[in-house]
Amino acid sequence: MKLVYFAWVRERIGLAEEEVTPPDSVTTVHELLDWLKTRGEEYAEALKYPEAIRVAINQEHVRQNEPIAGAREIGLFPPMTGG
């Protein structure tokens, strides 16, 4: 699946997007965040406060307990400041 990062999540991870294949044990957004944190210093730093991370699956907002099955694209970003 494709992960896309925005704002300070993107800056801290150092990537705008990437393809990942999490292990089968990763079934929810929350588990995905935990798994990502194991992928390196910059991920651990970017995702240190998971409650500050907003998530979209296939470009729709979801909560962190949402299953990720069927997700083509998951967006991770800080609280939005539009308008």
């Binding site: 979209a56 967006g75 609280p79 939005m80 400041t81 539009g82």
Partner: protein
Amino acid sequence: MPCRIAVRIQSEPFDTAAEIADIGRGDSDVGAVVTFSGLCRDEAGTLAALEIEHYPGMAEAEITRIAEDAAERWPVSALSVIHRHGRIGIGEPIVLVVAASRHRQAAFSAAEYLMDFLKSRAPFWKKEHRVDGSAGSWVDAKEADEQAISRWE
């Protein structure tokens, strides 16, 4: 009559007057047009500009969803939203919402609803450019904006 919804995400400035004229055009039943313009504001005199990042695709889709919700709640005949991205100078418009209706209260409510949800649900992020050239920080989301949503529930 269904509500005409138009959503545009662009880096270019927009022409507010043209948007107002467009929304009433060919519809003699529109009696009320409410607009909201959000301008790049410099609170402390230290800001040179804002850089607005967005999630392409999702930004349009999410604003369209918010507008559709508004159109279900109030009898509006047209809703337009333009949101800019990229570098925006102080005093320049960032966002424009235009709501047209037969009735003023519907137009006011739809515009206010749209702005409240746009603030904390539309995927945009603002980063500061400082006057002194130093790296600015990302603008924090405001608790007040999150709370503004709850009054519509």
